[in-house]
Structure formats: structure tokens, C-alpha cells
């Protein structure tokens, strides 16, 4: 089972929810895998304090041209949508940092003069944090491309574990990469105008991806009930609410785990997990019923 924790707005408490959920679920007897997909600003390690067992560089492929074979026909430059390779003034020029690794130039070169060379975008680190399997990625500073690193973080996971994904903030490409393929997305928000504005964007994103989702309201009471009003209107389940407890903010600031510092909150996470499990089960049943109905309506196997 894969649960992704995302939000439109940054700083709403994604990492807090993700890390505490992972530990609470471990304590309920499950094998948990934690994936920190916020490769630009990974934070989960601050709270989970993993023992890192392996580190691997992650590279994306970029073109390298064999000048002996190259006839300067320019086909590679024509094909490349990203201006990462071009022929001009009697030269082949490459701009590796623009390359998206699509392979277009390799495919198009009539002389087979182009080969793949790796360009490092960052590293992934794997380890364990008190019985939770842990992976995170760290994007190289000034590197623009995070999706390949995010894909690397998500690779080779055991789907029979409970996988908790901490996604980056926002609704664009890196978030999509992180959240894709999950069984459930928890959208963490705060009851403020900015929080609500960005929640609506995040809801659009998750609906576009077609993944079952629910909302966690953090710092409930700090603003008004605008988020509750919106969720009611849209028929969105608020799976959990956390009060505006300054002790949580302080524990967070010190890199502490909430369910350890303030054990009264452990139950919130246990209930949250059970509710998510139930929602996934309900969705699966709904999906099966829809499939069965379509199957029957279209005449079965004929």
C-alpha cells in the first residue's frame, strides 16, 4: 500500500504528518518504507535520524558526440526539442544541462556518432530509521532537473510494505512524479486563506491523477472554518485534524517526533491510518463494481 503526503502550500506539516505516520504504523506491526521525495529540500532525515547504509550517485543521460564519425548533418539539432544539441558554424555543440534524456538524438543520428554519457543530478541515500526502511534524494545545488532523482528514490520498493511518501510542496512536475502510482494521497493544509487557495490547486491535481485522497487540517482553529466549509461543499473527507498546539511547533523546531514528545497524539495517527486503509478498500470495491458492470454491459468476454 502506498500513501503519499502532499500539499499545495509549503510549510503546512507534510513532513510532520509523514514521519509520525510512518512510525505510528511501524508500531502497529507493519513493515514500513519511507521515501522522502522532496529532493530539493529533504527534511525527513532530521526527524527520523536514519542510519545511512548506502549512497548512490544518480545520473541522467546526455549526448556525447564522436567527432570522427559526425558529418555535421544537423539531424540531432533538428530533432532536439530542448536545444541541448545543435550544429552551427561547422561545430556540434552540446548543452548537457538542457538535456531531458529523451534519446532523440541517439535515435536520429545516421552515423551512429552519438553515445550516452551520464550527468550527475544528485545522490540517493538508503538506510534504516528504528526499523523503518528509509530513502531520500538530495538534488545537486544549481541542478534544475528533479524528476529523474525522484524516480530513483521510488525505484525498487516492496509493494507489500506500507510505503509512506513525503512529497514536495506545490502541484507541478516534481509533485506529480512523487505522488503518481500511490493508492492514497493525504493533502495537508492549514485553515488560512493561503492554505485554502493552495489546497484547491492540490485537489485539482489529485483529481487529475485520479487517486483517492483526503485532507488533514493542521493547526485547526488558527484561522476560521474555511477549509471545513470547502471540504463539505466538495464532498472531501477530512481524515484528521490537529489543533494549533504551540508545543507541536516547538517540538518540530527541535527536530523531534510528535508521537514521542506528545504521546497523546499517537491515536490521531493510528486512526488516520485505519481511515486511509478503509478508504482504499472502499475505492477498490467501487472500482471492481464499475469494472464488473462495464464488463456485463459490454457483453462479457465477447
Amino acid at each position: 500500500m502506498i500513501i503519499a503526503i502532499a500539499s499545495g502550500k509549503g510549510g503546512t506539516g507534510k513532513t510532520t504528518v509523514a514521519t509520525n505516520l510512518a512510525l505510528a504504523v511501524r508500531d502497529m506491526g507493519y513493515t514500513v518504507q519511507f521515501l522522502d521525495c522532496d529532493v530539493e529540500e529533504p527534511n525527513a532525515h532530521i526527524f527520523l535520524k536514519p542510519k545511512i547504509l548506502s549512497q548512490k550517485k544518480v545520473a541522467v543521460s546526455t549526448p556525447s558526440v564522436d567527432k570522427e564519425k559526425c558529418t555535421l548533418c544537423g539531424k540531432c539539432g533538428e530533432v532536439c526539442q530542448f536545444s541541448a544539441i545543435t550544429v552551427m558554424g561547422g561545430l556540434v555543440l552540446t548543452f548537457p544541462e538542457l538535456c531531458h534524456g529523451c534519446g532523440g538524438c541517439f535515435n536520429s543520428c545516421p552515423e551512429d556518432a552519438i553515445s550516452e554519457v551520464g550527468r550527475e543530478v544528485g545522490v540517493i541515500e538508503r538506510g534504516t530509521a528504528s526499523g523503518v526502511k528509509f530513502t531520500h534524494g538530495r538534488l545537486r545545488i544549481s541542478e534544475a532537473m528533479s524528476p529523474p532523482l525522484i524516480r530513483a528514490v521510488k525505484r525498487d520498493v516492496n509493494r507489500s510494505d506500507v510505503i509512506v511518501i513525503d512529497a514536495p510542496p506545490g502541484t507541478s512536475c516534481p509533485v506529480i512524479q512523487s505522488v503518481k502510482g500511490s493508492d492514497y494521497v493525504l493533502l495537508v493544509t492549514e485553515p488560512t486563506p493561503f492554505g485554502l487557495n493552495d489546497l484547491k490547486l492540490a485537489v485539482e491535481m489529485v483529481r487529475e491523477l485520479g487517486i483517492t485522497f483526503g485532507v488533514v487540517v493542521n493547526r485547526a482553529g488558527m484561522g476560521g472554518r474555511m477549509v471545513n466549509g470547502y471540504c463539505d461543499q466538495e464532498g472531501i473527507e477530512i481524515v484528521s485534524e490537529f489543533p494549533d498546539d504551540r508545543r507541536i511547533a516547538e517540538a518540530y523546531s527541535r527536530g523531534r517526533i510528535i508521537i514521542e514528545e506528545l504521546p497523546e497524539y499517537r491515536m490521531n495517527f493510528e486512526h488516520l491510518f485505519r481511515d486511509v486503509q478503509a478508504a482504499i478498500r472502499r475505492q477498490k470495491t467501487d472500482d471492481e463494481k464499475t469494472w464488473q458492470r462495464t464488463f456485463n454491459e459490454t457483453g462479457g468476454f465477447s
Binding site: 539539432g77 530542448f82 536545444s83 545543435t86 552551427m88 558554424g89 538542457l98 534544475a144
Partner: protein, 120 residues
């Protein structure tokens, strides 16, 4: 020789376009024949990235040996330099005025990109 000047319009009276990568177009001026022609650059508008590189290619393919513009980013500069093009930045006024400055030798060649580029 041919020189390329970034332009916001199609004639010699047009103002110089201070941008290179996403300039409206280029005037290619042949100092030997005193003829000029306009090349449109607007297909670069929607390119996801690398406008400077495409603009450099257009200038090189047109046979220019020098480029005069307002600003030039690092990738474009690298592309132009590799192709042996002399780059002059800081130009303003009309295309005609800039050609005159070039002819009288009052423009200074740039040794590097003068802006950080528009990162995609």
C-alpha cells in the same frame, strides 16, 4: 562582411532589441554591399528552453561574423564564441545608428555573457 543586429522591427529605423534569445528578429547587414535583410526570430517564443542557442544558430547560419545586441546570456555567448562570432553588447538606439557605430569602430567587443540568462 555580414553583421547581425537584434531588432524590434523589420527596417533600419527600427529600435535595437536589447534581448538576444527572444529578440523579435535580426537584421543581417552586409557591410560590403550595404544590403540588409530581416530574419524573424519569433518561432523561439514558445520554445521550452534554449532560445539563445536557437538564435545563435540563426545568426551563424545567416553567415554573420559579428553580433550586436543589448544583452547576451551565457549559453548563447558560448554558442556564438564557439562558432567564431564576435559579440558586441550594450547597444541601443536604432539599427542604423548601431551600424554606423560599428563602422566607425566605436563599439567594444564583449569578452563574456553580460547577463545570467533566463534559465529556460
Amino acid at each position: 562582411m555580414k553583421i547581425a543586429i537584434t531588432t524590434a522591427g523589420k527596417t533600419l529605423d527600427s529600435p535595437v532589441d536589447p534581448r538576444f534569445g527572444r529578440a523579435v528578429g535580426f537584421i543581417i547587414y552586409n557591410s560590403d554591399t550595404q544590403e540588409h535583410k530581416y530574419i524573424d526570430n519569433q518561432q523561439n517564443m514558445n520554445a521550452p528552453q534554449g532560445a539563445g542557442i536557437q538564435a545563435a544558430k540563426a545568426v551563424v547560419d545567416a553567415g554573420a561574423e559579428a553580433l550586436i545586441t543589448g544583452h547576451c546570456g551565457p549559453k548563447a555567448f558560448m554558442a556564438l564564441k564557439s562558432a567564431g562570432i564576435k559579440v558586441f553588447t550594450g547597444a541601443d538606439g536604432t539599427v542604423q545608428e548601431v551600424i554606423e557605430k560599428f563602422n566607425s569602430g566605436t563599439l567594444t567587443e564583449t569578452q563574456g555573457a553580460d547577463v545570467s540568462g533566463h534559465w529556460f
